[in-house]
């Protein structure tokens, strides 16, 4: 990816990405990058992502695996001397990319997508069926293979009373919850899509 220079990219991030405007305060000290547990796995650690945004490097940023590799540990947010919620910017960028159909880490995007769908549908997460749904997204054959690979764990959980047998039911206020979530989607930064 040659990474074309796109001078409007920084503004696009400030205006449309959740918490995107926060990076204006970044002084490039690198503390966030040094604190991140998966920094060795990231192509660009957080500090560099912010440099690239300001340099208009749209392709590098949106295709970076770093923004999808955040474990949500909050270490960056705790340590940033400028009080920037680095984690929120990383999540915002990941969400923005997924909305735009740029999905370099398919697994996490798919899992998170199913997770959210389940919340929207029933208001809670059913720990039994979520991994199954996620595995099946890979397609039926690889999905069944992954499910079988994970089965010993499920059986152990079951034997040790750690599986809820009844399917999770919808919360009573699901209709209202969905109305609220529709509204939140619309009112969020960048609008409904």
């Amino acid at each position: 990816m040659a990474g074309n220079y796109d001078p409007s990219f920084a503004k696009e991030v400030f205006d449309n990405v959740d918490s995107g405007e926060e990076i204006k305060m970044c002084m490039q000290c690198g503390i966030c990058a040094g604190s991140c547990p998966l920094r060795h796995e990231m192509d660009y650690p957080p500090r560099q992502i912010f440099t690239l945004i300001r340099a208009g490097r749209r392709d590098e940023v949106m295709n970076s695996k770093a923004i999808k590799l955040c474990t949500s540990c909050y270490r960056c947010k705790v340590r940033c001397p400028r009080g920037i919620p680095v984690i929120d910017v990383m999540h915002g960028l990941a969400h923005y990319g997924i909305k735009k159909g740029i999905i370099p880490r398919k697994g996490t995007a798919a899992f998170g997508g199913e997770f959210w769908k389940m919340i929207y549908n029933i208001g809670r997460i059913d720990e039994k069926t979520l991994p199954l749904k996620y595995n099946l997204l890979e397609g039926l054959v690889p999905g069944i293979k992954s499910t079988i690979e994970m089965a010993p764990m499920g059986i152990q959980m079951f034997l040790h009373h750690r599986m809820k047998l009844l399917p999770e039911r919808k919360i009573k206020g699901i209709k209202e919850l969905r109305k609220m979530l529709d509204k939140a989607k619309e009112m969020g930064k960048g609008g409904a899509n």
């Binding site: 959740d18 918490s19 547990p37 998966l38 590799l69 955040c70 474990t71 949500s72 540990c73 909050y74 270490r75 947010k77 705790v78 999540h91 915002g92 990941a94 969400h95 997924i98 880490r105 697994g107 996490t108 798919a110 899992f111 998170g112 997508g113 997770f115 959210w116 769908k117 919340i119 208001g123 809670r124 997460i125 059913d126 720990e127 039994k128 991994p131 996620y134 010993p152 152990q156 959980m157 040790h160 009373h161 750690r162 599986m163 809820k164 999770e168 919360i171 009573k172 206020g173 209202e176 919850l177 109305k179 609220m180 979530l181 509204k183 939140a184 989607k185 009112m187 969020g188 930064k189």
Partner: protein, 293 residues
């Protein structure tokens, strides 16, 4: 003292041993819990893939608003992932009037309103500050003498606000372990993230994180790991086989909840209340040796 308990989705399933043990332990310390009526999922750490910030905040604002409309007690979250979501929403909405107005427009769809009258607290905060070390000590009629425990704190348990413990050098978990007679070992990786919400989808990367934590616990002489979060417990316990397969290691380290150890120390039933048989890697032998049973 009365509280709202927000157990979340995990404590009804994978984290059941946390729920089973925390209830009698907190009762013994004089705490009483009420469930938040018709609560919804907090969104955990991964919802950002499917939703914007405001939507995730809505989930938590709804739970807080229901609690506010049905009672005036603090909300206690035993799961660190739920805790962080609730406390963050509560914090930001209390501080930012504009955001609060926005959220209240949204909540109106369900006839709810966020006032900002409650606190959200981690179970560990409540055990330490409301239960109190003295009361815990005097309730621990069966102290876990000499049991070497690695007190794992994890990341979201005290971050980012550090409301009840240091975000860089937390000590509350170790103090609670000491109060029940156990011997917390030095554990530099006690705050290293276990992989949390992206574990399943980034297995290869996260197995390395778990290995480092287990290595550190063992190098410091721990016999078992104590946790205060169902995500941490799951990742540290259930993936040891996969870590062993990947790295050629031999881990078989029991992982329990702090409240399970407290139940044991409080003289409660090892199964019915301490729920030790819920653990997949059995901790009974080590624990019985410590209590001389």
């Amino acid at each position: 003292m009365k509280y709202f308990l927000y157990g979340g989705c995990s404590l009804e399933a994978g984290g059941k041993n946390y729920m089973v043990s925390l209830e009698p332990v907190c009762k013994a310390l004089g705490m009483e819990f009420e469930e938040i009526e018709d609560w919804n999922c907090c969104g955990a750490s991964i919802s950002y893939a499917g939703a914007n910030e405001l939507s995730i905040m809505t989930l938590n604002a709804r739970n807080i608003a229901i609690a506010e409309s049905t009672g005036g007690y603090d909300i206690v979250a035993p799961c660190s992932s739920c805790y962080i979501q609730l406390v963050k929403t509560n914090h930001e909405l209390k501080e930012d009037a504009e955001l609060r107005n926005k959220i209240n427009v949204i909540l109106k769809e369900g006839n709810l309103n966020f006032k900002g009258s409650l606190n959200v607290r981690h179970l560990m905060d409540v055990l330490y500050n409301d239960g109190g070390i003295d009361k815990i000590k005097s309730t621990a009629v069966r102290p876990l003498k000499g049991l070497k425990v690695a007190g794992y704190v994890g990341c979201q348990t005290v971050r980012p606000y550090g409301e009840y413990d240091s975000v860089e050098r937390p000590k509350v978990h170790d103090l609670l372990l000491k109060a029940i007679g156990a011997d917390p070992v030095p554990f530099p990786k006690k705050m290293q993230c276990c992989g949390s919400g992206i574990f399943l989808t980034e297995l290869d990367r996260c197995l390395g994180l778990v290995k480092e934590i287990l290595d550190d616990a063992i190098a410091n002489g721990a016999q078992l790991i104590s946790t205060v979060c169902p995500m941490c417990a799951l990742n540290l316990e259930m993936y040891q086989d996969k870590v062993n397969a990947k790295f050629g290691t031999n881990f078989n380290m029991p992982v329990v909840y702090l409240t399970q150890l407290m139940a044991v120390a409080f003289g409660m039933d090892l199964k019915k209340e301490a729920a030790l048989d819920y653990c997949v890697i059995p901790p009974e032998g080590i624990i019985k040796a410590a209590i001389g049973g």
